[in-house]
């Protein structure tokens, strides 16, 4: 299929993606694409450049060569400032371990993405999303007082705050036990569907294989 045609269908298209660190290690990635409301699992063992790939997709690293288009925008053509803005507005990221602005409570951490993108602050939305994750009662709690599972769910809630078109998750389940891992992956799928976003999960967690149909081995 012609690349142009793919782009029309896809939220995310990667082709001939290569990245070389200044310190030496070099990665080339397989081509892949992910459509609207589609879910994609990028599986790979340690050292295969999973995090590198995720940072490329998030525009936090620039590919050495190849094309990477998100929503028909070639990330390689954006300036650093434009990248920050693009990332904030269109991409929600869930990291392996949840991190927060420690001095702020859950509610303020949730509205942080809106604030940082200079969007209108919508505290009601924070409440709504949190109640979808059954964490409404933790609104005024400080992040460090939450359990690891709760923290990860709040991190997912935060990734959803700006209605991203693409949700990127970096090993979202690897730190969690089976029960919590299943909950989190279900949650990610549900929420991605609810917001109509493409969901890309980068992981080595084989437990997720049965859950997500489309996978690509790195």
């Amino acid at each position: 299929m012609d690349l142009k045609f793919w782009v029309l269908l896809s939220m995310l298209v990667a082709k001939d993606l290569k990245f070389t660190y200044s310190t030496g290690p070099s990665f080339s990635f397989p081509d892949f694409s992910c459509g609207k409301e589609e879910q994609l699992l990028l599986l790979g063992e340690s050292g295969k450049g999973k995090t590198t790939l995720l940072h490329l997709l998030a525009g936090m690293l620039k590919a050495s060569s190849g094309t990477l288009e998100l929503m028909e925008t070639d990330l390689r053509n954006l300036s650093a400032g434009e990248l920050d803005r693009f990332r904030g507005e269109h991409i929600g990221i869930v990291f392996q371990t949840a991190h927060f602005v420690e001095s702020l409570n859950v509610e303020d951490n949730l509205i942080m993405p809106q604030y940082l993108c200079s969007k209108k602050i919508d505290r009601q939305k924070a409440k709504t999303i949190l109640s979808r994750l059954n964490l409404e009662h933790k609104l005024k709690e400080f992040p460090k007082n939450l359990s690891v599972g709760e923290q990860q769910r709040v991190a997912i809630a935060r990734a959803l705050m700006n209605d991203p078109q693409v949700i990127l998750a970096d090993e979202p389940t690897s730190a969690l036990d089976d029960k919590n891992a299943m909950e989190v992956i279900q949650l990610l799928e549900e929420q991605a569907k609810a917001t109509g976003a493409a969901l890309v999960i980068v992981t080595h967690d084989q437990r997720l294989k049965d859950h997500v149909q489309k996978h690509i081995q790195l």
């Binding site: 936090m60 650093a80 920050d84 803005r85 991190h99 927060f100 602005v101 420690e102």
Partner: protein, 399 residues
Amino acid sequence: MNLFKIAFKNILFRPLNTSLSLILLSFGVGIISLLLLLEVQLREEFDRNIKDIDLVLGAKGSPLQLILANVYHIDAPTGNINLKEAQRVMRHPYIKEAIPLAYGDNYNRFRIVGTEHNYPAHYGVELKEGKLWSAKFEATIGPDVAKNTGLKIGDQFYSAHGLTDNADIHTDKAFTVVGIFKNSNSVIDQLILTEISSIWGVHEEHDEAHADGEEHEEPEREITAVLLKKKNPLAIITLPSFIKETNMQIALPSVEINRLNENFGIGMSTLKWVAILIMIISFISVFISLYNSLKQRKYELALMRSMGGRKGKLFAMLLLEGSIMVIIGIFLGLILSRIALLILSGALENQFHYDISNAGLLINEVKLILITIFVGVLASLLPAIQAVRIDISKTLSDA
């Protein structure tokens, strides 16, 4: 949600770091501001009371003591001088005005000063109620005396010998209050003024009581000092030789006070340097506090970047954190210096009957504030620059 709120919460999140910086900052600012306040207030107080007094005539001794005792009524007098000899100087053609002072007694530690009506007139002091003294043992009192002792017009009181205690009270002769002065912020506020003859009166009878059987001579009239205004500048050169043969000396208030300020100034400037040192340490502490917290917060900052936070915003946030700390420190310092001044002025008023509690913001303090803010911002600049230069990808994958 705004940058100020985030910055403020970040400061509160590290209470120990923040307190250390604030304590150092507020002490530095506080000490310097207190020194500035004291300097200005003391100078004003001194200048106000010198008011056109060119020369002071009194008994030989330390000229500074002569000035302090007779112009400011702080120190003990150098001794008494012979009235007749003093009158030769007072009537000298080079002298425009002479205010004789005679004292040695107190009432509740307020000095009773025998003088003439030109003394209050010299300071432009007006009467609040009653009249000026016009007969022996009539007294017109300063407003602070009235306030502290509760004396009212018509009240009688006994003087005590000496200038500071109530031990030896002359119970035989009572003074009557006939008038109270308006507040003039001059030394008169703290004095009880009366006829010179009242002072002699108290002591004559006092002496007689003890002089039984001894040979009694007509006492030589004595006074304590004379405040002089010159008519001719030559007075400063001529008069000292004019009184050479007597036990008297002439001192120049402006010269003595300048000398005092110079000596005083050494202590002041030493203290100032100590305060500046404290401030430098406090700036370093603000810097270290921000820089340290930056290490802990590197991930947090990268996270904010990953959520779309522009570099400028994070830069502003860190700069704001430093500035908020500095501004709170300045604010606390200024409050601290006012409290110290208040305590000090209370102590001074008790000791010297001097009030220095007027504490508006000085021009030098405004300068101090601006410099402090400037250096404070400078101290938070480096951490802020470091913050925007972090590699998001590396920071996030290292955690």
